[in-house]
Amino acid sequence: MKKIYAFESRCLGCRLCEVYCRTARFKSKDVVKAHKRKNITSAIIVEEVLGPNNISYFALQCRHCKNPKCIKACISGAMYKNDKGIVRNDSEKCVGCLSCILVCPFGVIKKNDDGKSVSKCDLCADFGEPFCVENCPNEAIKFLNEGEARALK
């Protein structure tokens, strides 16, 4: 299964991935509209790593675990794994109890502003390649199989 892998040595911390993640979650895929019209939560998180003399960054999003804790903690059945192995959240069913946030070891599920649901990476499963990967200016995140990613690490 292809997942998004982040390469810290390439990450600029520009956070464009967050911008494009929010855009991907908006119907028209228009960056301006996605940000002006609606408060959308990004499902990718850029974190800082403070070194002795420098700051580096990495992007992180759902790892689509083999045996996801979030699914078993979900009280509403909103969280599920589809036949491709992608862990998805059905916002219609989600009640925003945040049990998934309580158990996600990567801390990559986020509460939406409405408080009634959560956002998480679904690898842009409904339309082609993940938007964040396509729009990373420095190829710091890539959509790869595990083997390919291991070879590059």
Binding site: L16, V19, V31, N53, S56, P137, N138
Partner: protein
């Protein structure tokens, strides 16, 4: 001093309808032009720090930014124009020498644009490079006077040391220090893939890069930074740098703050110490001295590496070049007055040296007259901007060209002329790790490969149009050039006829 006459050079305009406050500009501007005001929860701008490098404009996901010349005008005065006044403000405030980066931007004539190429019509056929073989390979180094063959047609002449370029374009000397490690890696990998050469500059060579050795030219300059036997043997050829087009007659200065662990190791100087290249080589005061250095280097490398000598294009270039050839150089590199630099005194950069087109024509002419043109190759540098500049240079007498500015532009340089600040937002002329990171060699080497491949295609088109199927046949063929908007003296120096003649 609280009284500051300086005014911003640029104005950053943010389109509020498009800005989504994503702060990408804030994260990307190393000059802190864009900043986030927590109190008002809004992204703001400080125009005075903007160098117009376009990093923010390029990365802004909504194209909400525009940078314009700052609209503040001085009273119109052809002589005391704004730039002249602002330079005085700066110097009267700091007492310092004005520093600039990249090449001479002043409105001196660009002779490439005053020369036009020929094409075949009726009396001689043009060649379609898509259908017929077309050679753009060149060989750099000394050429034999004549070739001898035995009765069976076997070559008897012992061929001198040569290196071969698949395209007559190489990447100019830019030191590791002046440009980043990632920029170097991009140049090295592109040179390897293209079958051409890149040049270490005078900063030595990291051991990690020895693997690109067969596509590397190692430079020996007045500071002798990073020069040792292993280094000399690591490349395919050695270049002695006497002068640089952007700053003929003066040395170089890499500030200590750019000398980190890695730069320190390759330059063989302590971390944090200034790397000062003297104006002259202290062991070269004559052509004879130069000959000694050339042969010392050949000796050190077992006569297996061609030695280039690089000079800046100055008033007596032709005579100097003659001396350099006689000193035993395998190639002479001439760098014109528009050549780029990481940092040079503004007055020097803008007022010293001569145009490369005129120097090239004069040198080629002189060497031919003296019957020594085949003793060495002639490589020119100093603002070759495109493939037609390459073709014109070769028609004027060059064997190949070096590109520096064009190469860094392919890497993302937006010609903001601020290399000397060390805060290149594109990760080229900087040593800050977080900025260097912005230049991903995996992406950028491909852009260099694309550029040179595109030029190669264009060169073949132009050659084909002239009915020539090998670039070697164009070299020094000045009949393929005609001048426009040139006076008789210029035509004479260039050795070309006026259009219509």
């Amino acid at each position: 001093m609280s009284l500051d006459f300086n005014t911003p050079d640029f104005e950053v305009i943010r389109n509020g309808n498009r800005c989504i406050q994503c702060k990408v500009c804030v994260h990307q501007c190393a000059n802190a032009v864009h900043f986030y005001d927590e109190e008002y929860d809004v992204v703001c701008v400080d125009d005075s720090k903007c160098v117009n490098c376009h990093r923010c404009v390029t990365l802004c996901p909504t194209k909400a930014l525009v940078i314009r010349k700052y609209p503040l005008e001085f009273r119109e005065n052809f002589n005391w124009h704004g730039k002249a006044i602002k330079e005085i403000y700066k110097q009267s405030q700091t007492g310092g020498v004005l520093l600039s980066s990249m090449g001479n931007p002043e409105p001196f004539p660009i002779y490439w644009d005053k020369m036009l190429l020929n094409a075949s019509q009726v009396t001689n056929p043009s060649i379609d490079p898509l259908r017929e073989p077309m050679e753009t390979k060149v060989v750099i180094g000394r050429k034999p006077e004549r070739l001898k063959f035995d009765a069976n047609g076997k070559l008897l002449t012992k061929m001198p040391l040569n290196i071969e370029l698949k395209v007559p374009v190489m990447f100019s000397a830019m030191s590791y220090g002046s440009i980043s490690r990632n920029a170097h890696e991009s140049l090295a990998r592109a040179a390897e893939e293209l079958g051409i050469f890149y040049n270490t500059g005078e900063g030595g060579l990291s051991k990690d890069f020895y693997k690109y050795g067969k596509n590397t030219i190692v430079q020996v300059a007045s500071g002798r930074f990073g020069v040792h036997k292993e280094y000399l043997n690591a490349g395919a050829a050695i270049e002695i740098k006497i002068g640089q087009g952007a700053k003929p007659g003066i040395g170089g200065h890499l500030p200590g703050k750019k000398v980190g662990e890695d730069v320190s190791a390759t330059r063989m100087i302590p971390v944090g110490s200034d790397a000062i290249s003297p104006a002259p080589h202290h062991d070269i005061y004559s052509i004879e001295d130069l000959r000694q250095l050339i042969f010392s280097l050949k000796e050190a490398t077992g006569y297996k590496k061609p030695v280039f000598v690089k000079i800046a294009a100055v008033h007596n270039s032709a005579a100097i070049a003659s001396g350099v050839v006689r000193a035993g150089a395998d190639a002479i590199v001439v760098d014109g007055f528009r050549g780029g630099t990481g940092a040079a005194p503004t007055r020097v950069r803008n007022n010293v040296g001569i145009p490369i087109e005129l120097a090239l024509a004069a040198i080629d002419q002189r060497l031919r007259e003296e019957g020594i043109r085949n003793y060495c190759s002639l490589i020119v540098a100093g603002s070759i901007r495109n493939s037609s500049d390459v073709v014109k240079a070769i028609a004027l007498g060059a064997d190949a060209v070096y590109i520096g500015s064009a190469a860094v532009i392919a890497l993302g340089c937006h010609m903001c002329h601020s290399c000397s600040t060390g805060k290149c937002n594109w990760g080229i002329a900087t040593q800050y790790p977080e900025l260097v990171k912005r230049l991903n060699p995996d992406i950028m080497y491909k852009r260099l490969v694309n550029l040179i491949s595109a030029w190669n295609n264009e060169i073949q088109e132009l050659l084909g149009g002239m009915g020539i199927n090998a670039i070697e046949s164009l070299r020094g063929n000045r009949l393929m050039l005609r001048g426009v908007d040139l006076n008789e003296k210029e035509l004479e120096v260039l050795g070309i006829k006026y259009a219509g003649e």
